[in-house]
């Protein structure tokens, strides 16, 4: 009996967690698929981190926790505001191969970006290309083939025919898929006004967004395909006293298709056995974002100190969100309004640089589900096309970044530097869910914190610059599928029924580790 008392609360929490995840997953897909996340605000309702997948362009500051409000990042900033490319006074070639991996074999990726910043007189531009290989977050396992052959069933129950699933096209698919990225930017300096104007176009051809496959527990195979398109117009105003002002307007379109294959069990009267049949679901994940971003930097009176602030507004419409297996909200549309307000300080003192950013993100999101057919409710009925569930999310996220950089003279006129940093992201939201069918209201609070220590090394030669940076994110989680979900699931299931290995999702903590080596060299 004591053992049962010990087990019951734990399972209860597990179920609760699974349910929380089920409800929250409706917004996960709003994770920004872009290489320039600063102006696109990520909305996450589950602690599945995806950012490492898309942080593959070279950066001076990512080893410092990614501080950037009061400390410019000349390598990465042009991907956020194309007008920032004007700060690069010459033409440079760069490459930044990198990897990331999730512990527990829950995902990995490798990216090879190459690119160049070019300048000709008052015109400047850039072109960057990247190819990426992403390992799925789980092994695609066809529901064990031996199961299909009936080998797990008692001999007396085995079918006379050789295998219940004979479709030769049925395969678990490849675990690794490729993505492609291309960014083109073009701008012009208006020296007289101290202004730079530029535009950029980024396109991503996507076959694997990390973590998505985990949102369809019980599925046998998830094939992703789609693209993201990002258009930006940026302005940079640099004043003579080193103050700077930036503005960006952007439009981002994200469209993915998830083809999910399940093997559903069914009772086959002909064989008196549970057999399997294939079911293919096509889920669309579409989000369109309009955004505006302002940023201002100024020197402070104290020597070496700079102050910056930023403000961002995003309006997202998501006409289609995947109908995840773990959720009860089918393909819900919705809208979100996301903002961030940030302030940062930095100090450069000889060979040492210190920076700190604090960003606050308030987000409001409203999603709903529509009835395909008239539905009887507790108090009446909902016509076809009427809302069946409404979700009101209120996010209150905070991001703190700290970092330092110390340059060291080394032999031969070379310059070395090391970097250390820490990024802390706190995500919290309140969900108010109105189930208009059951006539019930659910209120829920969810929060978690991710800690990402970062580190970096750089070597600057006269001919080129070589950088390494790494990071390790703690606090991320990855779903695992488990049995359960029933009030008596800790008791033996009678009848000897063969149960498919699908169940409610629970989350296990993982660490996400990334490494990147980048180098850049002047072209002329």
């Amino acid at each position: 009996m004591p053992a049962r008392h010990d087990v019951r609360p734990r399972l209860s929490r597990l179920r609760l967690r699974a349910i929380e995840v089920a409800a929250g997953a409706s917004l996960l897909s709003l994770t920004v698929v872009t290489t320039a996340s600063a102006q696109l605000i990520t909305i996450r309702t589950v602690p599945i981190s995806q950012s490492e997948q898309f942080e593959f362009f070279p950066s001076r500051n990512l080893g410092m926790g990614g501080v950037n409000i009061a400390l410019s990042d000349t390598l990465l900033d042009p991907f956020r505001n194309p007008a920032d490319a004007s700060r690069l006074r010459g033409s440079r070639f760069f490459s930044s191969p990198g990897t990331y991996s999730v512990t527990s074999d829950a995902g990995a990726g490798r990216t090879l970006p190459v690119g160049a910043y070019l300048r000709a007189g008052q015109w400047f531009g850039g072109l960057a290309l990247a190819v990426q290989q992403v390992d799925a977050s789980r092994r695609n396992v066809l529901q064990p083939p031996i199961f299909l052959e009936g080998d797990l069933t008692p001999p007396a129950l085995r079918p006379n025919r050789p295998g219940l699933v004979t479709d030769p096209t049925l395969s678990p698919g490849n675990r690794t898929h490729g993505n492609q990225f291309a960014t083109l930017m073009l701008g012009r300096d208006l020296h007289r006004a101290g202004l730079s104007l530029a535009g950029s176009l980024s396109w991503s051809g996507l076959n694997a967004v990390d973590g998505v496959d985990l949102l369809y527990p019980g599925s046998q195979r998830v094939d992703q395909s789609g693209h993201a398109l990002d258009l930006r117009l940026g302005l940079l105003k640099e004043f003579a006293d080193t103050r700077s002002f930036q503005a960006v307007v952007l439009h981002d379109r994200f469209a993915m298709t998830h083809d999910v294959m399940y093997l559903d069990q069914f009772w086959d009267p002909a064989t008196q056995q549970i057999a399997f049949r294939q079911r293919n679901d096509r889920n669309l994940d579409h989000t369109s974002t309009w955004g505006a971003h302002l940023e201002y930097q100024l020197p402070l009176a104290a020597p070496g100190w700079r102050l910056g602030w930023l403000a961002t507004a995003n309006h997202m419409s998501h006409p289609k969100i995947p109908n995840y297996e773990i959720m009860n909200i089918p393909g819900d549309p919705g809208t979100s309004n996301a903002f961030n307000l940030g302030v940062g300080v930095s100090r450069r003192d000889g060979p040492a640089t210190f920076g700190m950013d604090i960003v606050y993100e308030p987000i409001w999101s409203h999603t709903w589900a529509l009835a395909d057919v008239p539905i009887a409710t507790t108090g009446g009925s909902i016509p076809a096309g009427g809302k069946t569930v409404e979700n009101h999310f209120r996010f209150s996220n905070t991001l703190v970044r700290l970092g330092l950089d110390r340059e060291l003279p080394v032999f031969g006129g070379r310059l070395a530097a090391f970097q250390l940093g820490l990024m802390v992201r706190s995500i919290g939201y309140h969900l108010n869910q109105d189930d208009l069918v059951a006539g019930s209201v659910r209120r829920q609070n969810e929060s978690w914190t991710e800690w990402t220590p970062t580190w970096g090394l750089s070597l600057r030669f006269p001919e080129f610059e070589l950088r390494y940076r790494g990071s390790m994110t703690h606090g991320s989680e990855r779903p695992t599928s488990s049995f359960g979900g029933c009030p008596n699931c800790f008791e033996a299931v009678p009848g000897g029924i063969v149960v498919a290995p699908s169940g409610p999702m629970s989350l296990d903590p993982v660490k996400v580790v990334s490494h990147q080596v980048s180098f850049s060299l002047p072209l002329r």
């Binding site: 706190s426 059951a438 049995f483």
Partner: protein
């Protein structure tokens, strides 16, 4: 330049405050309402999966089976057919607590015991979804087996081979049962002729089956129908197993009704169940413990349980007037009853249960509401059974002595031996769920009744 910094400090303080607020762990939220996803996962745990299509049978075989199902020629006294007790008008049962076999009187459409006859020990189970083929059939599961056999049956080695499935195996037996179809020795049939089937002793199974076939093949229309169903087979090679296979084909083809709202829910239509039905389902597969027995694809049909059903009727076997159920089926020849199964009966599949009252092996309860109240506190229900709720004709057969009730209670299945204590509202939800198992197409089965049968005997 100091002013901007000073202005920034309050903003930073606010942001830090917000950050600190987030760092607090929120209180654990209250348990949410059950979701479709949660219910689906629970169903998966209990092996409740959609029902696939039944195999399509040869139309000639099905036509033959339909004729045999409704033809009283199969009974010794030519007064009862399979469909008499498995009447489409009563959803393939007879609506009686205990079945009435051959020799019944029919007045105003209601069948009553004939002179010298007695009730069968158990109710006639519905044949709805018999074609889905559970592992055991009959209330005591005395016929069991998988696929095309071999089958465990009371016939032992006398059972002919070649039976295609358990439904056909089951169909071999009612014609042997004196109370149900064969009649007693000395009976005269409806025309005053000797009932030749009743003349065989109870261990002359093969002879009885052969005698039935003699009757059938004496009718030219049956000869034609058998020839169509079994082309190329000489009449002398036909046995009653061929008739049983045809009856089974008809049952599987015509009696399968799996279009209930619950089946639509299993096929991923979340809107198929009402909120009350979903609440009931969550109870059914959880707190109410129903799924501890009623699980698997058929929601039952694969185990036995003593759930404390009051003992009614003449009883059966050596324990009569009690009915020990599964315990009365020897696991080995000449073995004593297995007390583990004392008073245990087959856990029936539940689809369309709303239509097949009265309930349990002896029809002790007339409504689903009464059934769920019984389960809510089985020990109390055993002691407090109100015999007035059953047919007056069988009230006198209630075995409610203290010793019997103690015996029944002592051998209760542990899954029902303690009260569940659902509220009235919860019990209503469970009933709502049970009614969601009804296929609308099962409500009227009148179209299954043929206009006539080859023997020319009346169908009603």
């Amino acid at each position: 330049m100091r002013a901007p910094l000073l202005r920034t400090i309050p903003i930073a303080a606010l942001i830090l405050a917000a950050s600190c607020e987030q760092a607090e762990t929120p209180p654990e939220p209250p348990p949410p309402n059950p979701t479709d996803a949660q219910l689906r996962q629970t169903l998966s745990v209990y092996g409740v999966v959609p029902i696939g299509p039944t195999p399509v049978s040869d139309p000639a075989l099905v036509r033959l089976g339909q004729a045999l199902m409704f033809d009283k020629i199969l009974s010794g006294n030519r007064d009862i057919s399979c469909a008499t007790c498995h009447d489409p008008a009563a959803h393939l049962t007879d609506g009686l607590s205990l079945a009435i076999g051959t020799g019944a009187l029919a007045a105003g459409g209601a069948r009553t015991l004939g002179p010298g006859r007695r009730f069968a020990p158990r109710s006639a189970p519905t044949l709805l979804n018999q074609g889905l083929r559970a592992y055991e059939v009959f209330w005591d599961g005395r016929v069991s087996g998988f696929g095309a056999g071999p089958f465990e049956t009371p016939a032992g080695a006398a059972l002919p081979g070649g039976l295609p499935n358990i439904v056909a195996a089951q169909a071999m037996f009612p014609v042997l049962n004196r109370q149900e179809m064969r009649g007693d020795s000395g009976d005269l049939d409806r025309f005053g002729n000797i009932n030749e089937l009743a003349r065989f002793s109870d261990d002359q199974l093969v002879e009885t089956w052969n005698a039935v076939m003699v009757r059938l093949l004496a009718i030219p229309e049956y000869v034609t129908m058998f020839a169509a169903a079994y082309p190329g087979m000489a009449p002398q090679a036909l046995g009653f197993r061929h008739a049983a296979a045809a009856i089974a084909a008809f049952e599987m083809q015509a009696f399968t009704r799996t279009g209930s709202p619950f089946d639509r829910f299993l096929d991923r239509d979340d809107a198929a169940l009402s909120p009350a039905e979903k609440r009931g389902a969550v109870l059914f597969f959880g707190e109410a413990r129903c799924s501890q027995c009623h699980n698997g694809p058929l929601l039952g049909g694969q185990s036995f349980a003593n759930v404390g059903v009051p003992q009614l009727g003449p009883g059966t076997g050596a324990a009569a007037p009690l009915d020990l159920g599964r315990a009365g089926v020897p696991t080995q020849p000449n073995q004593p009853p297995n007390d583990f199964y004392r008073f245990a009966f087959r856990v029936p599949p539940l689809r369309n249960v709303e239509l097949t009252a009265p309930y349990f092996h002896d029809g002790a309860y007339p409504t689903l509401d009464a059934v769920v109240h019984h389960y809510n506190d089985v020990p109390a229900a055993i002691q407090g059974f109100d015999v007035n709720q059953v047919d007056p004709a069988i009230r006198g057969t209630y075995h409610g002595s203290a010793a019997t009730l103690a015996d029944l209670t002592q051998h209760l299945d542990p899954r029902v031996s303690t009260p569940i204590r659902l509220t009235e509202a919860q019990l209503k939800d469970v009933v709502a769920f049970l009614k969601s198992l009804t296929d609308p197409a099962a409500r009227d089965l009148g179209s299954l009744v043929p206009a006539s049968v080859p023997s020319g005997l009346p169908i009603r």
